[in-house]
């Protein structure tokens, strides 16, 4: 199943260069819907009773001598991410149908979008670290071009900044991966990049910390955590809407996904020792970025900063290292994927109506577009963490997880959640209320409407029926904790 997904995306991307300029968008939509169908069809064969183990495993040797192989497989956690990827890619391609910003050079545009999807699917399904790295980097070039060619005002600057930040930080990851593989060669006598084999490695504490930090540099920039976040507002702010949607909804999740999958599982001792640091770092990230958010006057940068804040929740919940926390962080990842995508579509629509991202100019604009206002409302309230919205479960479970440590931590998380509610309310207030608008704005319709529904309907659905999502990673989060317990005797 996984290789067929990759092949679909690859062939789809390559063929999109050969198709007529005016038809290529339909082709891209067809390819992305095909991947969506494959992902959902795969659910029939996915064994939920052992969702914590890897399924659909395939393996092809790439360089035998160095132990590199195209080793694919998904467990419940990565399956959730696959669903998010397929959904977001489909929605962002659908959105691009009526986006004026991307109406030039369509062939290349859809080529890059499909290539991004290829990279994302690869990231979430590879079990070999070097192959993971290849796919991780594979999303870089397409995004660089998408931002740089079809972006807004400072596009080239933002694209370059994005590329350099991610590229340089991920070189540390490459060094870390190769360090692990050569450590494996020292201990076992042969190289291996396989995740499952590297998990069995017992590292010396100093070395473990060193490699953990190398991995962390890459993923802290990608996620991003606060002092390393400065690429994000620029990249998200200047990318075309579909690019921002993909960036916020899925590309950021590559960082958090990898932290949970690799940092915690491969370096259990260091992760356990660094629990307070990481949790506090996450909370500081929430608070600071919430603060930065409130001073933004550009809708898109506003949403971008709010993304950083949400990522803080994911990180702090994840590093609480109890099963509730892990569940919370995955839920929050999924929820944020949906809501941030919705928010960026909102920003894109406001731009297409008012030709500006300025928050004060767009005051009260939503009143003129009732259907749009309802959709944005759904997204806003589920992002804020109101019961019934998807983010509620993320935040609620985070507080529960924090409660297992201490009440003080729980109160801290609660306060942080409060902070993140403030900016959403501020945005809602500005867009819905105080309006003396005279102009008539055309309401959301057509492909724009459908793509927004695709992102907001699951957000509400997850909020109301969270067990549908928990089904995927209930056993996974238990498994992670029991694995850590077995290894290091943590509480």
């Amino acid at each position: 199943m996984l290789s067929s997904l990759l092949i679909t995306c690859l062939l789809g991307a390559l063929l999109s260069l050969a198709i007529k300029e005016s038809l290529v968008k339909f082709w891209a939509l067809f390819v992305s819907s095909l991947t969506l169908i494959i992902v959902f069809a795969g659910l029939f064969w996915f064994d939920f009773s052992r969702a914590e183990s890897f399924q659909f495993v395939e393996s092809y040797a790439v360089i035998k001598e160095l132990g590199v192989s195209l080793h694919l497989g998904v467990d419940g956690f990565s399956y959730v991410m696959l669903i998010l990827t397929a959904l977001t890619s489909f929605a962002s391609i659908l959105w691009s149908f009526s986006d004026y910003q991307v109406s030039k050079r369509q062939k290349e545009y859809y080529f890059w979008l499909l290539l991004t999807e290829l990279g994302l699917i690869g990231v979430f399904s590879s079990l070999d670290l070097i192959v993971f790295y290849v796919f991780y980097e594979l999303t870089l070039i397409p995004m660089f071009f998408v931002i740089g060619i079809w972006g807004y005002s400072k596009r080239v600057y933002s694209a370059t900044k994005f590329f350099i930040y991610i590229f340089v930080s991920s070189l540390f990851l490459l060094l870390g991966i190769t360090a692990l593989a050569s450590y494996h060669a020292f201990q076992r006598g042969y190289y291996s990049f396989s995740y499952l084999e590297l998990m069995n490695l017992r590292l010396e504490p100093g070395f473990e910390l060193f490699v953990f930090l190398l991995f962390l540099i890459a993923f802290a920039v990608k996620t991003p955590l606060v002092p390393f976040h400065t690429w994000l507002p620029d990249a998200h702010g200047d990318a075309p809407t579909a690019g921002s949607v993909l960036l916020a909804a899925v590309l950021l999740k590559m960082g958090t996904y990898a932290l949970l999958r690799f940092n915690i599982m491969l370096f259990p001792q260091v992760s356990t020792a660094l629990v307070p640091v990481m949790v506090l770092w996450g909370i500081l990230s929430i608070v600071f970025s919430a603060w930065f958010t409130l001073s933004q006057t550009n809708v898109k940068r506003f949403v971008a900063y709010s993304s950083i804040s949400h990522m803080g929740f994911v990180i702090s919940a994840m590093f609480m290292l109890n099963s509730v926390g892990i569940k919370a962080s995955i839920t929050e990842m999924f929820a944020h994927g949906l809501t941030s995508a919705g928010f960026f579509m909102m920003a894109g629509l406001i731009y297409s109506r008012l030709n500006t991202f300025d928050l004060s100019t767009s005051k009260g604009s939503l009143i003129k577009m009732p259907a749009f206002a309802i959709l944005v409302g759904m997204i806003a309230f589920s992002s804020m963490g109101l019961p019934g919205g998807s983010s509620f479960w993320g935040k609620f479970l985070t507080i529960l997880a924090a409660r297992q440590y201490s009440t003080n931590l729980a109160i801290l998380v609660l306060l942080a959640a409060f902070f993140s509610a403030i900016y959403v309310l501020y945005l809602v207030k500005n867009l819905y209320l105080d309006s003396k608008r005279e102009d008539n704005l055309k309401d959301v319709s057509g492909s724009t409407l459908y793509s927004m529904i695709i992102m907001s309907a699951p957000a509400i659905m997850v909020g109301l029926l969270p067990f549908l999502l928990f089904l995927f990673y209930d056993s996974y989060s238990e498994y992670v904790i029991s694995y850590l317990l077995k290894l290091s005797g943590v509480r």
Binding site: V62, V134, I149
Partner: protein
Amino acid sequence: MQEFITIEIPDLLLLMPELIVLFTGFLIFTLDLAFRRVSHIVGISLSSAGYIASIMALLLIYGKRGETLYGLYVRDGLSTTFQLLLVFLTLALLVFFYPYFKKRLSLYPEFYYILNFSLVGAMFLVSSYNLIVLYVALEAVSIGFYILTALLRGDFQSKEGALKYLILGGLSIALASYGAGFMYLHSGSLDLRNVFLYGQSDALILGLVFLMVGFAIKLGAVPFHFWLPDAYQGAPTPITAFMASVGKVAFFVPILRMMPLIQGEILREWTLAIATVSAITMIYANLVALNQTDIKRLLAYSSIANTGYVLAGISTASKTGLKAAGFFLIAYAITSFVSFIVVALLERFNDFKTEIEAFLGLRNISPAYASVLAISIISLLGVPPTVGFVAKALIFLSLAESKLWLLATVMIVATGISAGYYLKLLSKMFMFEPKSSMNVKPSAFERLTLSIFGLLLVLLGILPIFLFEPVSKSVEAILSR
């Protein structure tokens, strides 16, 4: 190490590829003298026939090992693999050079046989342990390069570059031969395999230092690089492509060959020296490249930086390190060849200057050139899915294996700096509208060759085994000796 002199009948089969190229060179030379000016059709067809025959000979004796000419000449996996690359790249050069020189009104048939003689030198350089043979081969390659650099006779820069190259190249060869002399003094043998057998002495250290400085000048490692940007910029661009690919490989392989022989105490200092040179080279070249406005100078500095990366792999002195260096060398040779060739093809068009500004909106002018150049730049930068990424990852693997964390960090920083100018080039090509409307139409044959090279860069990145396997085997061969 013969006890008494025996008459050895040279095993010509081992030497066949070189002999074919040499014979082709002499044939064209003779024809040129006999008929005053040999026509270009004859030159191209004879040369390419010779190269193809040579490649076939190489494939025929692939896997064969042996020595001949009293051990002066060694045929092993390393020499066969690298010779295949050298001949292949030279053959590809024939496709591109004619239109360039025709446009610059500087067509001389000397080109063909000098190219042949240079190639023979390079082929000997990758397949000998003997210091004298290395010296002669080094001279053969270099003299060819001096002449080829000055081949644009009306052009001032071309002559300037050639003269600088001549002076510093002469110095480098003098130093290398001086080093060889010291090595002989130390061991009483000119064969590198024997030189290191007799422990350590001051003479050996002096010899190694001089030899290294000599080769460092040839490779353009900082601080011995000053001739390189001028020569690369001044030379006709197809020749630059030739020097950056064939030249670099040929000058590097003797060092690769030497590494497993150096043993004992001296090894630590030797690797430390190489690591230092490598670190300085990477950082300096990438920093200077950031400021270049001429594409050929920029690529020249990038070539210096890449020398640094290969040296980093060599400095580990481990099996993985040498394999990584070998792989990197081949990957770099192909990649830089492609990038210089695209520049050469673009230079044919009237309005085109070699400045970076000329690349504004290249994608709109010629998607074919722009995308092939983009692939080669992405490969130079080391981003998957290109062969450049695999090469860099292998270097990192070897550095991690030898626990050279500091050097690895320097390499990360250097690669990060290099992203600055590579991305500038990429964004100039793809993200801006063109200033002028050049009329650029590559011929069908060029398009075919270019797209083969572009595909090669990507395919070798996805399926690196086809390159890694031969490199790995050939490095094992020199290690097991």
